[in-house]
């Protein structure tokens, strides 16, 4: 950001101007005596911390708060209970086929659970901090607002991803113990796609939280987003595809407009279960490759956070 000229820095300090220290502080009679022994010059030549350090501080703080708030444990426990439950009930047959059947079951239900948990975890990341007064405090510091949003999103993303890896990982351990390494790659693919899906919906939650003026509005909007992406979009999309003769590109765009569709396509398509997977079946016919699907999922993570980082600049606190 261009600051223009800086008179008090360029001109010698007049008596009426504060004796600015290099760290931006003022010189007091007391600390002038102490400064040579107790207070060395601040880092970065008197400026606020570098943007990456500030980003790290915000992310680390958000991570700590989420862990202390029991979110990390709760999310990991829910993921583990969900995965272990399905593993127990669907892993009757031994061998790689049983492994894949379990993954198919997990993926089918993860489409509902993972977005819901991610949105519940992310909807208050900004608006909730505003209601507690912390956002006003952060906005008063020399840190770009965008880094506050990105840092908060990164901090929560680490918690959510860790919880998903631990929770689903526990079930994966049991599957590994039961079926061996054959077919384990499909479970790893499912786990990574689930993490991607969780982060995409966390990003949507962050955007909702940044735009909403009140926590209740954010919660309502998050629930509507869940209903749209998880319940409505598939039905509408299939209806449009059935009613109109869309090109493959249009179908691909339509289907990738929903992170759950991408998740299904990534997991179920690789299992050869596309025929039972709604949009995934259609995607299989369009021939969209895995790298494109992964790129689309990453875009679903990056774009909402980028939009939130822009929107927060206009936010009134």
């Amino acid at each position: 950001m261009s600051d223009g000229s800086e008179p008090e820095a360029a001109a010698p300090a007049a008596r009426t101007e504060p004796a600015l220290r290099s760290d931006g502080g003022y010189e007091t009679a007391a600390n002038a005596r102490e400064s040579s022994t107790r207070r060395p010059t601040a880092v970065d030549g008197g400026r606020s911390g570098s943007w990456y350090r500030q980003l790290f501080v915000v992310a680390e703080t958000e991570y700590r708060l989420a862990v202390r708030g029991r979110w990390a444990v709760a999310l990991a426990a829910i993921f583990a209970a969900f995965a272990l439950g399905l593993t127990t009930f669907s892993g009757a047959s031994v061998g790689p086929e049983g492994f894949e059947r379990t993954v198919a079951s997990l993926a089918a239900l993860a489409v509902y659970l993972v977005p819901l948990l991610a949105l519940a975890f992310g909807y208050d990341v900004i608006v909730g901090r505003e209601e507690s007064g912390w956002l006003q405090t952060l906005f008063s510091l020399p840190i770009d607002r965008s880094w506050i949003v990105v840092g908060a999103a990164v901090g929560r993303a680490v918690v959510l991803a860790s919880a998903a890896v631990i929770g689903f990982g526990i079930a994966g351990g049991f599957l590994l113990w039961e079926f061996g390494f054959a077919g384990f790659g499909t479970y790893v693919a499912f786990l990574l796609a689930a993490v991607g899906l969780a982060l995409a919906f966390l990003a949507i939650g962050v955007l909702v939280s940044t735009v909403a003026s009140e926590k209740t509005h954010a919660l309502g909007t998050a629930l509507l987003a869940w209903a749209w992406f998880v319940l409505v979009h598939d039905l509408l999309g299939l209806g449009v595809i059935a009613a109109f003769d869309l090109s493959e590109t249009a179908v691909s765009v339509l289907l990738m407009a929903n992170p759950t569709g991408i998740f299904r396509a990534l997991v179920l398509g690789s299992l050869g279960a596309a025929g039972d997977a709604g949009f995934a079946a259609v995607l299989a016919e369009t021939g969209v490759s895995s790298p494109i699907l992964i790129g689309a999922l990453i875009a679903w993570i990056v774009v909402p956070i980028a939009l939130a980082a822009i929107a927060v600049r206009r936010r009134r606190v």
């Binding site: 950001m1 261009s2 600051d3 223009g4 000229s5 800086e6 008179p7 008090e8 009426t16 101007e17 504060p18 004796a19 600015l20 220290r21 760290d23 931006g24 502080g25 003022y26 010189e27 007091t28 009679a29 007391a30 600390n31 107790r38 207070r39 060395p40 010059t41 601040a42 880092v43 970065d44 400026r47 606020s48 911390g49 570098s50 350090r53 500030q54 501080v57 915000v58 703080t61 700590r64 708060l65 202390r68 708030g69 901090r129 507690s132 007064g133 912390w134 006003q136 405090t137 952060l138 906005f139 008063s140 510091l141 020399p142 840190i143 770009d144 009134r316 606190v317």
Partner: protein, 313 residues
């Protein structure tokens, strides 16, 4: 570090929050911003630290345009918002650590210890904020503002919610800053006696407009009325009759108070020379009188009925 406010305007929808106040806050001064609720004090402070952009006008802090260089301004300004809050699970020390790290301060631990000691939170430094009282949270906010020892401190109602001991500590801190440093302190308060004690200069805002600005002593002296307090044990009823017509007369439990023109006070005392007076006292007008006068002048000019102003003085 001088602050210049020039014709600043800000609206929120149909509500005019600031309607063109222009004044300067001298470098190294302790400056009070007074006004009734909704006068525009908080909006002015938020514009001053770049929370929002003004619709028109300009604010400069040490020659830096806040709108264009908000980040640099916030490096030099510590702001204690009216509704500052902290995550309940963080300790006081952790809160200050976040502030210090974002500001990139060196020698963080010593600064944090100093700030906690200054506001009297050293013993509670490692307790979670959820265990703090409102006053302790306010003191933690003050500690965060003091942490960087910035050239400009902007404090929005800093003593709101503080107990008498906390208020006294705050007064000592501001007085020490005023005495030992060249820092510019800008504060708002509904407690006029506090502003009178701490500030060199004040501005009075009302409905987003500047009503008056000036040196506290001059504003106080500019009050045109004085209050003469009289006490007569022998015949208070006779004394009450004697003072009628000399000004606004109020009979209290054990005295009669006559608020009159400064020049008329001497004539009043001459007129009641024959009465038996056990005690008399002439009270000079305080800042409250100047404050009320500033508001009343505009109200009269607007042909509106005089309204009671909400001042928690």
């Amino acid at each position: 570090m001088k602050i210049t406010i020039t014709d600043v305007r800000k609206r929120y929808g149909d509500v005019v929050a600031l309607d063109g106040p222009s004044f300067e806050i001298p470098s190294g001064s302790t400056f009070g911003v007074l006004g009734t609720n909704g006068a525009g004090k908080t909006t002015l402070f938020e514009l001053l630290v770049g929370h929002h952009e003004p619709d028109a006008g300009r604010i400069e802090v040490g020659g830096l345009d806040v709108e264009r260089a908000g980040h640099r301004v916030r490096e030099r300004v510590a702001f204690l918002p009216e509704h500052a809050g902290f995550p309940s699970s963080m300790t006081g020390r952790e809160v200050l650590s976040v502030h210090a790290r974002i500001r990139g301060l060196a020698d963080r631990e010593a600064r944090i210890d100093d700030a906690l000691e200054t506001v009297g939170l050293a013993d509670a430094a490692d307790r979670a904020v959820e265990g703090y009282s409102n006053g302790m949270e306010r003191r933690l906010g003050l500690a965060s503002a003091l942490l960087a020892e910035p050239p400009v401190l902007v404090l929005d109602e800093p003593t709101a919610g503080l107990d008498p001991r906390g208020v006294a500590t705050f007064h000592e801190i501001v007085e020490r800053i005023d005495r030992e440093t060249d820092a510019t302190v800008v504060l708002s308060s509904h407690v006029l006696s506090e502003v009178e004690r701490l500030c060199d200069t004040v501005a009075v805002l009302e409905d987003g407009e500047l009503r008056t600005v000036g040196d506290v002593d001059e504003l106080r002296a500019a009050g045109e009325t004085v209050t003469v307090v009289l006490q007569s044990a022998d015949d208070p009823a006779r004394l009450l009759d004697a003072v009628q017509g000399w000004g606004e007369v109020v009979e209290t439990t054990n005295a009669i108070e006559v608020t009159c023109e400064r020049d008329a006070a001497f004539d009043l005392l001459s007129a009641i020379d024959s009465e038996t007076i056990d005690r008399f006292e002439v009270r000079e007008p305080g800042l409250e009188a100047a404050f009320r006068k500033a508001l009343a002048t505009e109200t009269a000019a607007g042909d509106e009925p005089a309204a009671e102003t909400e001042v928690d003085a």
